[in-house]
């Protein structure tokens, strides 16, 4: 099982290198290879999830054993959290790739699209499996540069401008992260994450740690589009092709932003109370402002992009509460509940936000418009899209049978138990406003006024698109089973434990 870990990066990379070369020769080669590779990695990650080996799995690249206790090579480290992220990336990646088989037919340069798609997924897999700080930065750059080009895929005036703004903000974020890495190397003289964790335990220099943590929080916060740094997200996610905005909103900002923040701040740095407060404030601000900005939107994809910011606020809030309780040495049970809520919502958000963007893409594919006023009464002509969009809307606004309800429940429960009553009230209010906003979407898009004349002849979207939407809608239901203790222990708890064990991440990996 351990020997298969490099495949997560080799397979998408090999596909990405071959697609531009062989796309012309074999018809449809790029389309089906991309989906095939995504399916293969999805099976691999699900097998890794259910094979349930003893985490963390450590893979020494190049076979370099540590020399007198100091690791000298780059390590792949797959523990509970990274395997959970791998599953989200590859499953949502496969559904988006399968969806784009017919969606991208309307664009030119298809081979470039699939090559960039495979590179983005390879980059994210590399980030999630990285056990080395600089290696995490390099693979973060691969997936981010691929997403810059994918945002500007349609080369319209709006998309170019959105991609330029995204590139400048992303470039700044990468430089802040690089400055953080240089400072950490200057302090700890090593790049291996576990080694940094061990060396940092001995360092009492609080002022240096605060400065570095603020830098890294700013850099990764900008990648995760938390409130003060969210300016690029609505433009980038609304002007990208729909499968790509499903991947961006659903997976990229999580695998790069939230995963890196949780990995660094829980396992590497010593938990600090004011950093935890900053994280909680950022999370709740994102949650509140995201939904208020979203209410006034009439462009469907911009509305969904703003909702991404507010839902990410939930995830950061859950993780932030867990961080604060751990930093204060409070009740471990509540902390693990908060982190479980945060990660569970992260998984759910990847699925239902991806589905909402795919629905928006289906509507755009058939009616050619994204404005809610120009739609109306689509449920007669597009039953599958309206049904899946209804389930996704109910999931995002937290209506019981769907997965969104359970994860928000966990977060609010943890907030109440941890005596953050104000935050719990905010969470409930935001959830209600989200419900109102998505009622508006359903009314205008599907069930509102009668179908306009020129929309008479539209029919349901082709098989590739409807299949992905149906599978995602089913996932919205299936994932709510994660709330039951039996299943939760198997899937969600390893991820929570990998964060809960905090400091001795280093000890476990380097074994001393």
């Amino acid at each position: 099982m351990k020997a298969l870990i490099p495949l997560f990066v080799i397979l998408p990379l090999a596909a990405a290198f071959l697609i531009p070369v062989l796309a012309g020769k074999i018809k449809g080669f790029d389309k089906y290879l991309a989906s095939l590779v995504m399916l293969a990695t999805a099976f691999l990650s699900l097998w890794l999830l259910f094979a349930h080996e003893a985490y963390p799995i450590i893979y020494k690249i190049g076979g370099w054993e540590p020399v007198n206790g100091i690791p000298i090579g780059i390590y792949f480290v797959a523990d509970g959290l990274s395997v959970l992220m791998l599953c989200i990336i590859t499953v949502v990646g496969f559904l988006a790739a399968f969806y784009s088989i017919s969606y991208i037919a309307k664009f030119t340069g298809e081979k470039y699209f699939y090559a960039l798609f495979c590179l983005m997924v390879a980059g994210m897999n590399g980030v999630v499996l990285a056990g080395d700080l600089f290696n995490l930065f390099v693979f973060l750059e691969i997936s981010v540069i691929a997403s810059y080009a994918l945002v500007a895929f349609g080369i319209e005036k709006q998309e170019l401008e959105a991609s330029f703004k995204y590139q400048v903000m992303g470039g700044l974020a990468s430089l802040l992260i690089l400055l953080g890495i240089a400072l950490l190397y200057w302090q700890t003289k090593t790049l291996n994450l576990a080694d940094i964790a061990l060396v940092l335990e001995g360092v009492g220099d609080r002022k240096f740690m605060l400065f570095t943590q603020f830098l890294l929080l700013a850099g990764f916060g900008l990648k995760a589009a938390l409130i003060p740094f969210h300016a690029w997200l609505p433009d980038a996610h609304s002007s990208a092709p729909s499968p790509i905005s499903a991947m961006l909103s659903g997976v990229l900002i999580k695998a790069i932003g939230i995963y890196a923040i949780t990995r660094l701040f829980f396992n590497i740095f010593i938990l600090d109370i004011n950093i935890a407060w900053v994280v909680i404030v950022l999370g709740s601000l994102s949650m509140i402002f995201g939904v208020f900005l979203a209410i006034g939107q009439w462009d469907l994809k911009r509305l969904l992009a703003y909702h991404s910011i507010s839902q990410m606020g939930y995830v950061v809030l859950g993780v932030g509460i867990g961080m604060l309780i751990l930093a204060r040495g409070g009740d471990l049970k509540v902390a693990s509940l908060a982190i479980a809520g945060g990660l569970f919502h992260l998984v759910n958000h990847a699925v239902f936000k991806g589905l909402l963007f795919l629905n928006a893409g289906a509507i755009e594919y058939r009616t050619g418009t994204r404005q809610l006023q120009e739609m109306g009464g689509l449920y007669e002509k597009m039953p599958i899209t309206s049904a899946t969009s209804l389930s996704a809307s109910m999931a995002i606004s937290g209506i019981p049978p769907f997965n969104g309800f359970f994860s928000k429940l966990l977060i609010i429960l943890a907030a109440v138990l941890g005596k953050f009553y104000l935050l719990a009230v905010f969470a409930v209010i935001v959830s209600i406003i989200t419900l109102a906003s998505f009622m508006k979407v359903q009314k205008y898009a599907f069930y509102g006024s009668t179908l306009r004349r020129e929309l008479e002849k539209i029919k349901e979207v082709p098989f590739a698109m409807s299949f992905s939407m149906i599978v995602m809608a089913l996932l919205c239901l299936v994932l709510s089973l994660l709330i039951f203790p039996g299943i939760r222990e198997a899937i969600l708890m390893p991820a929570v434990d990998s964060l809960m064990k905090m400091g001795n991440y280093g000890v476990e990996i380097l074994g001393y």
Partner: protein
């Protein structure tokens, strides 16, 4: 030797301030090039010949591409200049001056905070290695390459270099998608 690098660094800062305030884009790019070549000289002083070569050549290619972008487009920059001509008399543009002094004060504050938080670390030159102690002592035997930087790049951290080359491939495919003629069918 530290003073020479300090002087070069101050000249680079002056060059980059001119780059950002130059009226004509072409002179901005040329002064950006000078800052880059200053960096090459500093790399040589810091005993990094590998970097000097790579930085020099990449610098030239970046300049060629930038000038290719500039050549058939607008040369002038519509930036408000710091001084306003009112009937031929130079008045200092107060709004611009306010922004500039605010930026200087903020920069000084950030540098002081940076200096405070970094003062506890190793001074320039006293760098006792931990991870690269092995690279320096056993690098040649373990990898067989005399050039330790290439040894680190292509053997100890070869996976980084695979990521590195993939970044260049991603950039090329990205540029080919952005520069294609028509986006939608």
């Amino acid at each position: 030797m530290e003073y020479i690098i300090g002087v070069l660094l101050i000249l680079m800062i002056a060059g980059s301030i001119y780059t950002l305030h130059a009226g004509d884009l072409l002179s901005a790019i040329v002064s950006y090039g000078i800052v880059g070549f200053g960096l090459v000289i500093i790399f040589l002083f810091l005993k990094a010949p590998d970097l000097a070569i790579v930085q020099l050549v990449v610098e030239i290619i970046t300049l060629i591409i930038m000038i290719a972008v500039i050549r058939n487009s607008s040369k002038e920059d519509l930036q408000e200049s710091a001084t306003i001509k009112v009937e031929g008399v130079q008045y200092v543009n107060l709004k611009q001056l306010l922004y500039f002094s605010g930026a200087v004060v903020l920069a000084l504050g950030l540098m002081y905070y940076f200096y405070q938080s970094v003062s506890g670390l190793d001074v320039f030159g006293e760098h006792e290695m931990r991870m690269s102690q092995v690279y320096v002592e056993q690098g040649a035997e373990l990898t067989g390459s005399a050039n330790l930087v290439t040894g680190v790049l292509l053997d100890f951290r070869a996976y980084d270099t695979l990521g590195e080359a993939t970044i260049l491939i991603t950039a090329v495919v990205g540029i080919l998608t952005i520069l294609r003629i028509k986006g939608r069918k």
